[in-house]
Structures are given as structure tokens and as C-alpha cells.
């Protein structure tokens, strides 16, 4: 067994031989290193990609802070070693270790994986293998750590069901404490691993896949899920926090550069826009905002504690934050002249956004990013991101005339019912924007078009639609590459095969777990990395399991199909999603739900929470109703929770 001393000693010889050894040392400013023997519960937080990426993940930083605030628990970090480091570790027998105490992850009580996107699945298996923890949940015993996972991808946990003991569905801030408590009680009482899992299954927001069985029809489509234990809730309702807790400010300051090397602060969680392609927008409802003062104070504290020169004000749609102007003014007043750069991503396409960026004077005058997502008004109505081309060009003029020289435009190809004319329109729109720039600032004007490919996601109104085939994607990309040539124009795009992997895994079922396993066995890892992703390995894995990849991606799913992720409830009802999908086919849009409630299903589920948190904290309508404890919702199921929404507009199809 490798103890911390032996791991440290091995690293002395390994680190000088690998790229960026700073990824593997730990010991950074603000890391928390507790006395191992003085705490009951040891949690390893793993981001299964390299340090440079994982250290930029806010979810990990939040959980690290919350767990380490407890006197009886500690949290340490681990990341995937890059290929050179992995090879060196395997040669010397060094297990995947935590950066803080250099302990093998096998010594921890709980190993928690952050899974914000699907391309981390094989790395998760690889990480378990590097520790020597059995990959399959069923093969673990009381001596192994509890393996849990959370993050946006786990809203469809099924492709990873065989490897993870328990998933956290939704927000982790509260439930992590409950998981630690259940674990401590189980340790004290003793008992089997099964007993621990059954106890965990009773926590709101926890899904223990081994307590369910999936059934399929002979044609391979999903039939239903069956629960195998009394303790297993059906559906599993996502966890949310009623109010965003104060943001962590003593973030770890990396010794080396990372992708987002900055202090991130969430100003708002959730989004009211209702873009139909947007997974995050559907699963993170309801919208909860942080008070302006709390954000400003957090920045001031964080600068003292970290010294970061860049601040990221994060949300899914900054312009929609109720007091955005007040926030921007407060931030620029308090921190101007301090040589900070403040980023405010996800701004609406309107000239007011340019005013906002202008107010943050210290920001880098790099590019100004807008995300129209589609280039024709027809298409933008289908995806419910209605903005007129006139307004977009007006915004572009405002951007160029206020000192920016580059506009980055983000689009997706592969939207439902998209034609080559819609794709051609992307090129035309980019050129129209560039010509506005030329009129204002001449040859300095630039347009960068980032064109990714749409992947239909579970729990969204587009969960029924087929994903474009490789041939379709290639044809569209060829068109764009030809059309977007010339001075001042730049185009970036995704490899269509990468898109397919994401598409297979997003809407996969339990049988996909075997594909993930077979792919990993054949060497798949770092699938999110161009230089590592191996499409042929995945096709081979599908063949070995006897599944057809196109079944998951290119099949138009009938409107009444039951999906393998339906037992995971985001609280946005399927009825709402169905209606929204049907509306999209007619090009019918919905306004921002701050303007009127469309009864998506969030309020009935969380009515009591809303009632006890009135006012601006939430952006859903106020609720006046008798008290319905969440527990009773869990027992009765979502649909039965009765409440009266003030001024609801009920939609029936």
C-alpha cells in the first residue's frame, strides 16, 4: 500500500519528468490540509479531467469550502493525470492521490466525482482504476469508499449507473451535509454497504441506481423503471437550495495557469428565457438571484484573500439579473482603478449590453461575444431565442462604435428542421455584421464565428429530436468554410465525431454503461480532447455490446415515447416539454417567464419553499398556500402537491 510518504517520495522522481508538474503538487495558497485522524469523514472531490480544467470548476470549489467548514469532515482534491503522468504513475505503482495529503483515494470514506459533461465518463472509470477501486458498484464492499457523482450530466445518470453508488441530482450545497451525516451514522452503527445505500436513497435528491431495474421493449426502446426496494423514491426529485448560500471567497489560487484563472462569483442561478435547446436553462430552474451587496462584498473579500486580477460574474443570462445595472455600477465604482478585469458573460443581444460592458471600464477590450445561436428569424423562433436581425445589427454597430474591434458570434448548426439556407444565413449574417464594422472602424473590424453542432439533451423540449448525422454536419460545415472566407472573418467549428459521442451519451440508457466500459477497456479516455478522442474505439465498443449508435442519436423519438431518464425529475413536467416541442414545430415562441408563468412544474413542486422565501430571491410568482412539507411531496409524488399559484396562466394543449 502506498502511504502519503511513499507517494511523496515517488513524486520526487516522477515530477521532474512530466509536463507541467505544478498540476500534481497541491500545496497552493488557500488549500485546506486538516489533521486526518482528527476528523470522522474524509471526502475526495474528483474532477475527472486535468487540473487546469478542474480547478476552474466552481461546483468543486463550493463543495470543498462547505465540507472543510465542518469540524468533523475534510475535503481534498484529485484530478485526472495527463497521459505522461498516468504512465509514470502506473509504472511506479502510484495510485491516484489527493493533492492535499497525498493519500490514495482508496483511503477516503467518500469519493465524489464532478460530472458536468458526458465526455468525462471514461476518465471516471480510469480514475477509479488508478485508485484500485472496483469499477462496478456491485463489486465494491464495506472496505471501499462510497462513490458518488453529481453535476449537470447526471440528470441522465443511466449511462453511468453501473459505476456510481449514488448520484446527487441537482444542487449539492445542502445534500452533501446529509450524505456525510448518513455516512457517519452508518459507520457508527455498522452494517452492510446495502444498508448505507438504502439510507442514502431516502435523501431528497439522491438516486441510488442499484435499487432500480430498467425494462425495455423488444424493439430496444425503454419501457419503464421498476424499483427494487421500498426505500427507493420514484421519481427522484432534483435537489435545490431555497436561497443561494454566500459564495466561497477563499478560493485556492493555482501555482500554474488554468483555463479560467479568476475569481468566479455566481450572481444568479437558473434562467427564465426558455431557449429550447438549453439543458442548463431547463434543469437549473427556478431562478434565484444574489443580492447586489452580497456579490460586491464577496469580490472585495476574495481580492484580499486570493489577489486574483480577474473577476467572473457568472450566470446563464447576465442581462436578466434584475439589478444588473446597479450591480455593474457598484462593481465599477468600488473596483475601478484597481487593474481588475471583470467579465460579464452571456449578455443579451441589445445595445444595453454594450452600455453594461462599457461601465466595466477596466475590462479587457478583447472581443465582444454575442450568441444568436441561429441566423434566421425563423430558426430563432423554433429554438425560442427570438431576436430580430435588425436588433442584432444595431447591437453590432454599438459594439464597434464603442471601441471593440472583434465581435464573436456563437451559432449552432443542426437545429431541428434546419435547412442549408439557414446555414448559409449564418455566413450572410456574419458578413452583414462585418460590413457594419467596416463602415464604422474600417479594416480593423473582425468577426469570429464559433459554430458548434447542436446535441439534443434530455429534459429539454428537444429531447425527441434526432441529431444530425456526420454527413449532414460535414455538408453544413463545408458550406460555412467556403462562405466564410476573407479578410476579417474567422470560423471555428467542432469535429462532427466529437458531437456524436456527446449525443450518444446524453440520451443513453442503462445499456450504454457497457459501451462506456468497453470503450474504456479499449483505451478511450480524455474523450473531450481532440488529440485523445478515438471515434473508432467507440464504434468498436458499440459493436461489442451489440447496440446500434444511431438508435441513440439519429432516431426521431415518437411523441409518446417514455425516456430512460424520466424517473429523474427536474420538476419541469414532461407535459410542459411536450407542448413546448410542439410549439417549436409551429414556430411559436414563449416570452421570458418573468413576464408570465407558464406553469412548467417548478412551482407546484417547490411551492412551500417559495412561500417561505418570498420576494425577489426567486423569480417565480409568489405562492400563497397551506404549508406542504417537501417530505409529503416526496411521498405523494410531484403531481399531487397542491398549491395555488398567484396569477398562474395555465396552458393546456
Amino acid at each position: 500500500m502506498f502511504n502519503p510518504e511513499k507517494i511523496q517520495a515517488s513524486l520526487e522522481g516522477i515530477l521532474p519528468c512530466v509536463q507541467k508538474p505544478g498540476r500534481y503538487t497541491g500545496g497552493e495558497l488557500n488549500q485546506v490540509l486538516k489533521d486526518w485522524d482528527n476528523v470522522q469523514t474524509h471526502v475526495a472531490l474528483v474532477f475527472p479531467d486535468i487540473y487546469d480544467i478542474g480547478m476552474s470548476n466552481l461546483g468543486l470549489a463550493i463543495l470543498y469550502d462547505l465540507i472543510n467548514q465542518r469540524g468533523d469532515a475534510l475535503a481534498e482534491r484529485a484530478f485526472s493525470p495527463w497521459n505522461d503522468m498516468e504512465a509514470a504513475m502506473r509504472r511506479s505503482g502510484v495510485p491516484l492521490y489527493s493533492l492535499e495529503s497525498k493519500r490514495s483515494l482508496a483511503e477516503f470514506d467518500i469519493v465524489g466525482f464532478s460530472l458536468p459533461y458526458e465526455t468525462l465518463y471514461t476518465n471516471t472509470l480510469n480514475a477509479l482504476d488508478l485508485v484500485g477501486i472496483p469499477l462496478f458498484s456491485a463489486q465494491r464492499d464495506e472496505g471501499h469508499p462510497l462513490v458518488i457523482a453529481g453535476g449537470h450530466a447526471t440528470f441522465n445518470p443511466e449511462p453511468m449507473h453501473a459505476f456510481i453508488d449514488a448520484f446527487v441530482i441537482g444542487e449539492g450545497e445542502d445534500v452533501i451535509h446529509e450524505i456525510i451525516q448518513v455516512h457517519q451514522e452508518w459507520r457508527q452503527a455498522g452494517g452492510s454497504r446495502d444498508r448505507l445505500l438504502r439510507a442514502l436513497a431516502q435523501l431528497w435528491g439522491v438516486y441510488v441506481p442499484s435499487l432500480y431495474r430498467a425494462e425495455y421493449y423488444p424493439d430496444g426502446t425503454f419501457s419503464h423503471i421498476e424499483k427494487l426496494a421500498e426505500e427507493a423514491p420514484l421519481p427522484v426529485i432534483k435537489r435545490i437550495v431555497p436561497k443561494l448560500p454566500p459564495p466561497p471567497t477563499n478560493l485556492i489560487v493555482p501555482y500554474i495557469d488554468t483555463i479560467h484563472n479568476r475569481f468566479p462569483v455566481e450572481i444568479m442561478r437558473g434562467c427564465t428565457r426558455g431557449c429550447r435547446f438549453c439543458h442548463a436553462g431547463m434543469i437549473t430552474r427556478p431562478v434565484r438571484e444574489r443580492p447586489v451587496q452580497e456579490v460586491v462584498d464577496a469580490i472585495a473579500t476574495a481580492i484580499q484573500k486570493t489577489g486574483f486580477e480577474e473577476i467572473g460574474l457568472l450566470s446563464l443570462s447576465s442581462s436578466d439579473y434584475t439589478h444588473i445595472l446597479e450591480l455593474v455600477n457598484a462593481v465599477s465604482q468600488r473596483f475601478s482603478g484597481k487593474h481588475l478585469s471583470i467579465s460579464l458573460p452571456s449578455l443579451r443581444i441589445e445595445s444595453f449590453s454594450v452600455d453594461l460592458m462599457d461601465a466595466l471600464k477596466d475590462s479587457r477590450r478583447g472581443g465582444f461575444t454575442l450568441a444568436p445561436e441561429a441566423a434566421t428569424e425563423r430558426m430563432r423562433e423554433i429554438i425560442n431565442k427570438p431576436v430580430s436581425t435588425v436588433q442584432l445589427l444595431e447591437t453590432a454597430r454599438a459594439i464597434y462604435s464603442r471601441g471593440w474591434t472583434t465581435i464573436k458570434l456563437y451559432f449552432m448548426i443542426g437545429h431541428p428542421s434546419e435547412t442549408l439556407e439557414d446555414v448559409q444565413a449564418i455566413a450572410d449574417l456574419c458578413k452583414a455584421v462585418l460590413s457594419e464594422g467596416r463602415k464604422l472602424i474600417g479594416g480593423r473590424a473582425q468577426v469570429h464565428a464559433g459554430v458548434s453542432t447542436f446535441v439534443p439533451k434530455p429534459h429539454t423540449p428537444f429531447q425527441w429530436v434526432p441529431c444530425d448525422t456526420v454527413e449532414q454536419i460535414l455538408a453544413k460545415q463545408v458550406l460555412l468554410k467556403k462562405a466564410l472566407r476573407g479578410n476579417g472573418l474567422k470560423l471555428t467549428w467542432n469535429n462532427p465525431e466529437d458531437t456524436l459521442l456527446e449525443a450518444w451519451l446524453s440520451r443513453g440508457d442503462r445499456r450504454m454503461a457497457e459501451v462506456v466500459y468497453q470503450a474504456w477497456q479499449r483505451g478511450a479516455k480524455f474523450d473531450a480532447w481532440k488529440e485523445c478522442f478515438r471515434y473508432d474505439v467507440w464504434l468498436d465498443a458499440f459493436r461489442s455490446v451489440g447496440l446500434e449508435p444511431a438508435f441513440y442519436t439519429h432516431r426521431e423519438r415518437p411523441i409518446d415515447e417514455t425516456f430512460p431518464w424520466e424517473h429523474i425529475s427536474t420538476s419541469v413536467r414532461k407535459k410542459f416539454l411536450t407542448e413546448d416541442y410542439l410549439w417549436s414545430l409551429q414556430g411559436k415562441t414563449r416570452v421570458d417567464c418573468r413576464e408570465r408563468c407558464f406553469a412548467c412544474g417548478i412551482l407546484p413542486t417547490f411551492a412551500d419553499m417559495r412561500r417561505t422565501h418570498p420576494g425577489e430571491v426567486w423569480q417565480c410568482p409568489e405562492v400563497k398556500s397551506k404549508k406542504i412539507p417537501v417530505q409529503s411531496i416526496l411521498e405523494k409524488g410531484v403531481e399531487k402537491g397542491e398549491s395555488r399559484i398567484v396569477n398562474p396562466i395555465s396552458i393546456t394543449s
Partner: protein, 210 residues
Amino acid sequence: MRLRITFAKTEAMRYTGHLDLHRTWERTLRRAGLPLAYSQGFKPHPRIVLASALPLGCTSECELVDVWLEEQLPLDHIHGTLQQAMPPGLHVLQVAEVDPALPALPTQLSASEFQITFRSSVPDLDMRLEQLLHASELPRVWREKAYDLRPLIFEIRRLPDDEHECQQITVTLAAQEGRTGRPEEVVLALSGEPEMSLIHRTKLIFQSNH
């Protein structure tokens, strides 16, 4: 005011490269609440100048950085607030005020002295040192470029073994812009294993008119 800070670089900080170290200093000064000066212009950058890049993985007890502050502050105050704000692995040893008119640090450097500890012993080390000293040239290749290491070595000699009976040497290498000897190249020239050697910078040597 222009400060010259002497600092040590140890522990995990030895894997922080030159650019990242520059940023680390900017952050440290911001945490300390010291009024760091920035250059004028469209994209102001902090006025921090490190004397000499330390190869990745090496430790040091003699690094130098010049920092400009917007206002005059007492040196003991600066030293105190800096010490509070230093990240693990960086240690302030001395803070002095220098003449703002002095030339930039890197242009004044002439050589670096390193102490190298071989954790796996080099056979016939004394003989190899002799050979190296008497060689008229030491052709080597660094990043696909051929060069002669010998004229970059000003001095090299054996030190007494350390407490773990590891062999130790000290070497003085050229450290001028565009003409810098790398200590790990010396280890290789002695047929040692760089990954099994601890390299520690002990002195920065400036041109005599400094």
C-alpha cells in the same frame, strides 16, 4: 518607489514557471494591499521585473524581483504586509529601495551559482568534473538547437557530500540575456540523471559595475 525584493523559491513553488511566477507576484502584492504601479497605455501591465528565470523544478534562496509602487511607504511596513501575503513556497528575505534610474535587473546579471545534489550517485564524479573542466568544447543540443555548453560554465567544483551522503557540486553558469547556462545540462554532461538531482540556486552574480 522602486523596490528590490530578495526571495526564496521552495517546495511546490519550484514547479511554477517564469510567467506564472510573475502573475503570482502581482497577486501577492494585491493581497498585501500594496499600491503596485502599472505601465501606461492601452493595456497596462504591472511593473514587476524578475531578474532571471529559474529552470522549472529548481529551488532558490537568492531570487530577485524589482517592483514599482505608486507611493512611498516605509520598508518595514512593506516587508510586514508582504510576509502576510506570501503564498506557500515563496519567502521574502529582504526588501530594499533602489534608485529608479538603475538599469533593468536582467540586463545587469552576469552569472548564476547553483548547488547540485545527486540523489543517485554519479560514478567517477571527480574524474568527470576534471574532464569537463579541461574539455575545449561540450557540444550539446537544447530544444533542437546545437550549442557549446563549455564557455557557459565559469566555475565548477565538488562540495562535501550532504548528510545523506549524496554527492554535491557547485557550478557557476553564465546568465546573460541570450547566453544562459542550464544546470540540468551540466548534470547531463556529467552523465548524471537530472530527474534524480536537486538543483538549488545559491547566488546571482552581477556585472562589476552593478
